[in-house]
């Protein structure tokens, strides 16, 4: 494989995949929980939570990245705590890139999953309650299977967003080859140097191919799950 990709290009691709997989995997359960809160519960501060979730979608990514740097940087309150308590370093590390990608992908995932939860008939959940299922069991046995297509769609959307995330990442963790230089950062870097056009074009094609595969996969999985649920 390495004969048609240089080491730098290869490391950018594999880093991007690693960052996106971690970002998606870690934020998905939180996204399901938050989506359920927003769809099914009424509580004080719900509009605030809703706004907070959507903030990364409407803020300039640079602002989000800077906010992450202030909070999770080595001197930031959360960053210092994580480093002292768990030895997790985020600033200028690939883990920080994963955090930035997760934060940016989060609202998209929540939106997709929330729509799926709202489409589930609450009367089915009530029926499950009368049959002896407590609230967590109702969620696990009725809500979750019925929103699976929405979760898959949300996860793929989040993964694609994480693969393409640029502004917050470069602001928070910079553009260090082999550590934080993801595909978009690499494309940007190649475009900054004379003669980098060809390498940038190769990465653009790869990014396009990964996005297309993700999209087709989500369509296919979503349809398979929906068929399994609605099978007559």
């Amino acid at each position: 494989m390495t004969d048609w990709l240089t080491a730098d290009e290869w490391s950018a691709l594999s880093l991007s995949l690693r960052v996106s997989v971690w970002a998606t995997a870690l934020s998905l359960p939180v996204a399901v929980w938050v989506a359920w809160l927003l769809a099914r519960r009424t509580f004080w501060g719900k509009p605030l939570l809703n706004g907070l979730v959507h903030l990364p979608l409407i803020l300039p990514p640079v602002v989000t990245g800077y906010a992450l740097l202030l909070m999770f940087g080595r001197r930031g309150p959360a960053g210092a705590f994580l480093e002292q308590a768990f030895g997790i370093e985020l600033a200028f590390r690939w883990t920080g890139a994963a955090l930035a990608a997760a934060v940016m992908a989060f609202p998209l995932m929540v939106r997709a999953i929330r729509l799926a939860i709202e489409a589930v008939d609450p009367r089915l959940e009530a029926a499950a309650g009368t049959l002896g299922a407590s609230r967590p069991w109702v969620f696990a046995t009725v809500t979750l299977p019925l929103i699976l297509p929405g979760i898959v769609a949300g996860a793929i959307l989040g993964f694609a967003k994480a693969m393409g995330e640029f502004g917050a990442t470069i602001t928070f963790v910079a553009n260090i080859p082999g550590e934080t230089q993801t595909l978009p950062s690499a494309i940007y870097a190649f475009l900054q140097v004379p003669g980098g056009d060809a390498a940038a074009l190769r990465l653009v094609l790869i990014a396009t191919a990964v996005a297309m595969v993700a999209l087709l996969l989500s369509e296919w999985v979503g349809r398979a799950v929906a068929r399994r649920i609605a099978a007559g």
Binding site: R123, L124, A128, T130, G132, I229, G232
Partner: protein, 365 residues
């Protein structure tokens, strides 16, 4: 009392204030749509949290707001059969049936319930492909298998056409007769209620206007206006005697024989026959040379003259009560008064097959 319900709940512009007690058997909650029937059932199930309530089922207190006690929905052991079935679309029929059974920790075999409801052929199908009648039966089975202390049926037949209703009613009668479960049955069909109910609770605008044994309430002339005069009718208990050669079935009532078009029931089986008030003709003397076959000696027990041309007459026919709807003119011409002996004339063909139901086993002994 097996079921005791007291509840108050203020909706914007609607006050629900209900109290009734019911013995074992089927308690019918009857009333127009919007009278609050479903709210009562939801409060019993725990899906509605009333402002004030005390609900006791078979000695178990489900809710007592004064004592600050409220069992959550999933611990009430209520088998709720919803109007729309509410089967889980992602599970097949068998998994739907097993759902409540698993949470109840029950190891009762599903065979008897499957057999009783005739759903054996559906077990591996998805709810999406079932007909309305099949869905209703599966929903009843699912509720029964959750090891309930009580069944709630909220118009389980309302979404079905007449043919499907006729198909399900015998199954409901079997549920009533073969399980000892108290049943709260919401309906606005008097024919269903007459076939199934032991106790009748009539609701109007969020209140109970009448509650009591079904035979008594259904034949009460003062209740009829609330039911609608066309729906009025009482229930006669009878026993199938013989199927005769000319296509009629002879039944024995406490006041003499009753001939009806051939019934599906076997000789010896107890049935209840709904006689619509408008199908009863009254005569002072036993009529002769009449085509109608059924002439039952009765005593007038109550009389209600309406504002219009009609009059309602309650009659004691042996152990049962009948109700007849005649004109005021006839009532005056016959000189009807309470205590008068009359003959009730009923055309055999006026009693439809759907008006005849099986009797609960309790009346047998």
């Amino acid at each position: 009392m097996t079921l005791s319900v007291r509840l108050r709940h203020a909706y914007p512009g609607f006050l629900l204030d209900v109290a009734f007690d019911a013995p074992p058997g089927v308690t019918a909650l009857f009333g127009r749509s919007g009278s609050g029937k479903t709210s009562v059932v939801n409060a019993v199930a725990g899906l509605l949290s009333p402002d004030a309530a005390r609900i006791v089922v078979a000695g178990r207190v489900l809710q007592d707001t004064e004592a600050g006690l409220r069992l959550p929905v999933h611990r009430r052991r209520i088998g709720y059969v919803f109007q729309e079935g509410r089967l889980f679309p992602h599970l097949d029929v068998r998994q739907n049936l097993l759902y409540g059974r698993w949470f109840a920790g029950s190891d009762a075999p599903i065979g008897p319930v499957v057999e009783m409801l005739g759903i054996g052929a559906l077990l591996h199908r998805r709810p999406g492909g079932l007909s309305g009648g099949e869905k209703a039966r599966v929903a009843i089975g699912r509720a029964l298998l959750s090891d309930p202390a009580m069944l709630l049926l909220d118009e389980p037949l309302a979404a079905l056409d007449e043919a499907r209703k006729a198909e399900i009613l015998p199954y409901l009668e079997r549920v009533r007769d073969e399980t000892a479960l108290p049943i709260l049955y919401v309906s606005h069909s008097i024919a269903e209620v007459a076939r199934l109910a032991t106790t009748f609770v009539l609701m109007e605008a969020g209140r109970v206007v009448r509650a009591g044994p079904a035979g008594e309430v259904l034949s009460d002339p003062d209740v009829v206006p609330a039911l609608g005069v066309r729906a009025a009718g009482a229930v006669l208990s009878a026993r199938v005697e013989a199927h005769e050669a000319d296509g009629l079935t002879r039944l024995e009532t406490s006041v003499g024989p009753l001939w009806l078009p051939r019934l599906a029931a076997a000789p010896g089986s107890p049935v209840r026959v709904r006689i619509a008030a408008q199908d009863v003709i009254l005569a002072r003397h036993r009529p002769e040379g009449l085509s109608a076959l059924n002439i039952l000696p009765c005593v007038v027990t109550a009389l209600r003259l309406g504002d219009g041309p009609g009059a309602l007459v309650q009659l004691r026919a042996g152990e049962d009560l009948l109700i007849a709807r005649v004109t005021r003119r006839s009532a005056e011409a016959l000189g009807l008064i309470v205590g008068l002996e009359v003959h009730a004339v009923i055309k055999s063909v006026s009693v439809a097959q759907a008006d005849v139901g099986r009797t609960e086993a309790a009346l047998d002994v």
